[in-house]
Symmetry: C2
Subunit: 415 residues, 2 copies
């Protein structure tokens, strides 16, 4: 039988990250590819003990269906968690999601029609490109600077789209330790972005998985906070600051938007596991979340420093990279003309993997980029892996005649 | 800011069941509305103990991201579970889902474009109507008989649609203890349906949440089994036979279809919680699943008998109902002209709730029907609740002048 799939399906291609994830379980290969937190932080003993407590005290509730917007006890603990990081929301401004990828999925379902216009950073999170692209929306990218999305270009773009009769539906940004670049949007750019969005009647989607993971410098107020909740939809997840195996995230937005997204969630999965929500609610309420995040911050500070030192030691001068103040990733730029995809197999054969740059670009650029993750590998693996990667890059660039000091545009020159 | 939501969103209305779920947590109101299993079956002690074992033995794996198609250990346990109920699948024919509602969501995304034609039973599961309707597909219903979807009408419909140049994309059926009616499709109708579907090159979606819960009579082979996997997509879940609080389900289909659905799942939530998958894998592998299902079958046998006895004792003669051999629901038919939606508030005031018939009909009919759930309430609650419901119905029908013995068409006359 010849099956005719949907147009939505024909617009969906596989995520390179997901495909590369199998390497993370292969022996001998050091993976800088995934966005995985360090498993040594996982509080397995605490989770076993808390699960026992939850089963004893409210087991029947935990194993039953729950309300679509989220289990009230978990929602309260989310408010408490946000409060710990200087953020404020009320319970009707929160929708619990099964990971923040589901947040992207719900936004795609609730907001996007084929031909709709959205704006995002270049580069940006490939899972968002996948979820938004599925809908047939048109994505326009703005090259990221060292202080985030440049507001001049943003305003120019919004004006042009509006004049063309295709106003922009939303601006998607990752202001803190951007994935994949590690860049932080400056306070000035945050204020300007909100001002421009308000003037052009455009929603802002703030994807914020890494904000809590800052090693150095001062935490910036979120767009949600700066806008007093007006016109901003914030996506949050515990996958990065805690662990991803429970798939718990949440959306923060105005009550009316939450109501609409909750309606879409009904058709998507009815509700997020009550079991998981009650376990993590208790984890937060016992103060364990804050302690875990502090340990993660300390560990990732060391690992990022280790990776930067290894890059400085091993990489040829024509390779540039960002130096993040938090998060899990840094972004590497090779000379123009290089294609990191051509190097993947050679790298894997040398025992190291990364993610290529193109899937992070809604416009198909980024072939001379790669994203490196430092949260998952050990410091020993980082040192060995970066040495292997440097050999791979040198060989590739020499063979292609690219081994000269290049003028490298954009992100690579920051810091 | 005026937000313009998507056309997909404008086609989505709230599920009446979800709205009614809040009654299930209200004191004093007896709910026949939800599709909730009996919480007294929930193995809270075992889950606590198994979680501890999983955390000790493979905690780091359990709290990490997993592969999109499912955790291999869980997939193996699903094959083992299916084998216990005379079903066969290979690991590449299985996609783990976050509940079977997600199965419906993925089918909607992967297969349906606006204007596509699908066929389903009248009545059918309202969550499917919601997920499929969202896409803009056109749903045509065929009135269910006592032996399931009548094959003559199905063939006539498929022929007509094909002749019109709009061939039917898939036929959605719930062959075992259909939701909401409790009806089982006969072996003869199963064979005919598969024959017709094959001749018209139409996929069959077999939603099968209740098949394992049979109190009496002989279990029928599934469509998946009868078709040897050709052209059938089967949706499964543990929400009904075990408990729903972990949101675990799976799809069984040909490898090519599974690959396509897994790709859509990437954009939807990356993966189902590894934590939950490893806990339930162990629950199955220790033989506990089979024992739990046996207890559920025994309990629901008693409860369904109790509800039927209470209906026979209390209901006026102009009210008819089905007598299911398994599952969780029975279907009540009031005289033509009654609208069970008009009675909801009165019923709640009398301390009982049900789900109205219309949301189960893709054609907007069914106003004189209601679905009753007997798995969740206790036998005492069933007796009291049915007595309350009978009073409500009598009052309503008398006030409307409908309190006469009616010729009632369709389902109500079965058994």
């Amino acid at each position: 039988m010849e099956i005719k799939y949907s147009s939505c399906s024909s617009r969906t291609s596989s995520s390179e990250i997901r495909e590369l994830l199998r390497y993370t379980r292969m022996k001998g290969v050091i993976s800088f590819a995934g966005g995985l937190p360090d498993s040594s932080l996982f509080p397995t003993g605490q989770i076993a003990r808390i699960t026992k407590d939850v089963m004893e005290e409210k087991g029947l509730l935990a194993l039953q269906y729950g309300p679509t917007p989220g289990e009230p006890e978990f929602v309260e603990s989310l408010i408490h968690h946000m409060h710990n990081f200087d953020e404020v929301a009320t319970s009707d401004q929160i929708l619990v999601t099964s990971s923040s990828q589901q947040g992207l999925d719900l936004l795609s379902l609730a907001l996007l029609d084929p031909g709709d216009e959205i704006v995002m950073e270049l580069p940006s999170y490939l899972g968002a490109i996948q979820a938004f692209g599925r809908s047939g929306a048109r994505m326009t990218g703005i090259q990221l600077g060292a202080a985030g999305m440049p507001s001049g270009e943003l305003e120019e773009l919004l004006r042009r789209k509006k004049d063309n009769g295709t106003p922009v539906k939303f601006i998607y940004v990752i202001p803190d330790f951007q994935n994949p670049s590690g860049v932080v949007m400056s306070l000035e750019n945050r204020m300007r972005l909100l001002d421009i969005a308000a003037r052009y009647d455009t929603l802002v989607v703030e994807d914020s998985p890494y904000r809590e993971i800052r090693f150095t410098g001062t935490t910036m107020p979120s767009l949600w906070t700066l806008a007093n909740g007006e016109g901003v939809i914030q996506l949050k997840t515990f996958s990065k600051m805690l662990f991803p195996g429970m798939r718990l995230g949440w959306i923060v937005a105005a009550k009316e938007i939450i109501t609409k997204l909750a309606l879409m969630k009904q058709s998507v999965d009815l509700c997020t596991p009550t079991f998981n929500q009650l376990i993590i609610a208790r984890y937060i309420n016992e103060g364990l979340m804050k302690a875990t995040i502090e340990r993660a911050v300390e560990l990732y500070r060391q690992k990022s420093a280790c990776m930067i030192a290894a890059l400085e030691k091993n990489m040829p001068p024509y390779v540039r990279f960002t130096r993040p103040e938090g998060g899990m990733f840094l972004w590497v730029t090779l000379p123009e003309g290089a294609d990191t995809k051509e190097m993947v197999e050679e790298a894997a054969a040398n025992g190291v993997v990364y993610v290529t740059g193109r899937p992070f670009h809604c416009n198909g650029e980024g072939s001379n980029n790669m994203r490196l993750n430092y949260s998952y590998p050990s410091t020993e693996q980082i040192e060995t892996g970066i040495a292997r990667l440097a050999v791979t890059i040198r060989n590739y660039c020499e063979a292609k005649g690219l081994n000269h000091q290049n003028e490298i545009a954009g992100l690579a020159v920051q810091n």
